[in-house]
């Protein structure tokens, strides 16, 4: 188990799979039985095949969609990523026609690696409300001010 190698593989996951859309790399980085524990929008994803489908789906709506890794923290078999995702809405997404606008959100994702150095589990909190508001799927709201 190498913390530095785990971090490198997370970087590869975001660069090659998420940003370049190269799903052929998924099997190298991730176990087939990978599980994602998410938040209200995507609470559960079971299996690396579902991840591949998700990547293809997002890429068709946001061809230039990409993740910027702001920082990584690693400890034992865990790598946690602070990230931002950006993409131009050029294809239908969640029932909304393309707007041509740039959407973005911040995320904090915690990855667990197995003994073979493959990603086996993830817990994600993604601040997608700005994207949902931009898509017109939820109302604008402000919580501040008393």
């Amino acid at each position: 188990m190498s913390v530095e190698l785990n971090k490198l593989n997370i970087q590869r996951f975001y660069d090659e799979v998420i940003s370049n859309g190269d799903v052929s790399v998924v099997d190298e980085l991730m176990c087939a039985e990978f599980v994602h524990h998410g938040d209200s929008l995507f609470p559960y994803i079971g299996g690396s095949e579902a991840i591949k489908q998700g990547v293809v789906g997002v890429k068709s709506a946001y061809p230039d969609g990409h993740t910027v890794i702001e920082e990584m923290v690693a400890d034992g078999d865990i790598v946690m990523v602070r990230l931002t995702w950006h993409g131009t809405h050029l294809g239908p997404f969640m029932g909304k026609e393309p707007s041509g606008k740039v959407h973005h959100w911040a995320g904090l994702s915690t990855y667990r690696f197995n003994n073979e150095g493959k990603i086996i589990e993830r817990w994600a909190n993604m601040d997608v409300m700005p994207q949902l508001m931009a898509l017109g799927l939820i109302p604008e709201m402000k919580m501040g001010g008393g």
Binding site: V3, D39, S40, L41, E71, V73, A74, D75, G76, I78, M80, R82, F93, M94, G95, K96, W105, A106, G107, L108, S109, T110, W123, A124, N125, M126, D127, V128, M129, P130, L132, M133, L137, I138, P139, E140, M141, K142, M143, G144
Partner: protein, 145 residues
């Protein structure tokens, strides 16, 4: 004496416990005077200052008096501590115009906290699943697209 990742982890645990137990003055000992939180972009993207944080936590607890943070994961590397946690609270007071439902609501959050060499929290990024909270209170839709 410089802090250690283990010491920083225990500070985070104590910080959450103090928040859970409404020990707001104890929070002072863990936060830098200029403590910064980078929060949800659409709601509270930036908050700076220990007093502001105490007010914010106090305000949240006055609306959700039994809100409890449960740590699911806690890890550390260098000057950073990350946590993945769950907040559980009963909706017993009016919130964002919604009258008390007395339901128990819960949502997850992830936090990345940065410490100075003295083991004081200076900055953090936190993302809470407020969408889940709002859905449970009926403020936001549960189906999209």
């Amino acid at each position: 004496m410089p802090t250690t990742p283990e010491h920083n982890k225990s500070t985070i645990i104590r910080f959450f416990l103090a928040a859970n137990n409404d020990q707001l003055d104890e929070l002072d000992t863990y936060m830098h005077e200029d403590f910064v939180t980078h929060g949800p972009q659409s709601l509270l993207p930036y908050a700076k200052g220990r007093d502001l944080h105490k007010q914010g936590i106090g305000g949240f607890k006055s609306t959700f008096p039994d809100a409890t943070i449960h740590i699911i994961h806690i890890f550390a590397e260098g000057d950073k501590v990350m946590t993945h946690q769950k907040v559980v609270a009963r909706h017993v007071k009016e919130f964002l115009g919604v009258q008390p439902t007395f339901k128990t609501i819960e949502w997850t959050a992830t936090q990345l906290a940065r410490f100075d060499e003295n083991g004081i929290m200076v900055e953090r990024w936190v993302i809470e699943d407020f969408l889940a909270m709002f859905q449970q209170l009926g403020i936001m839709p549960t189906k999209f697209g």
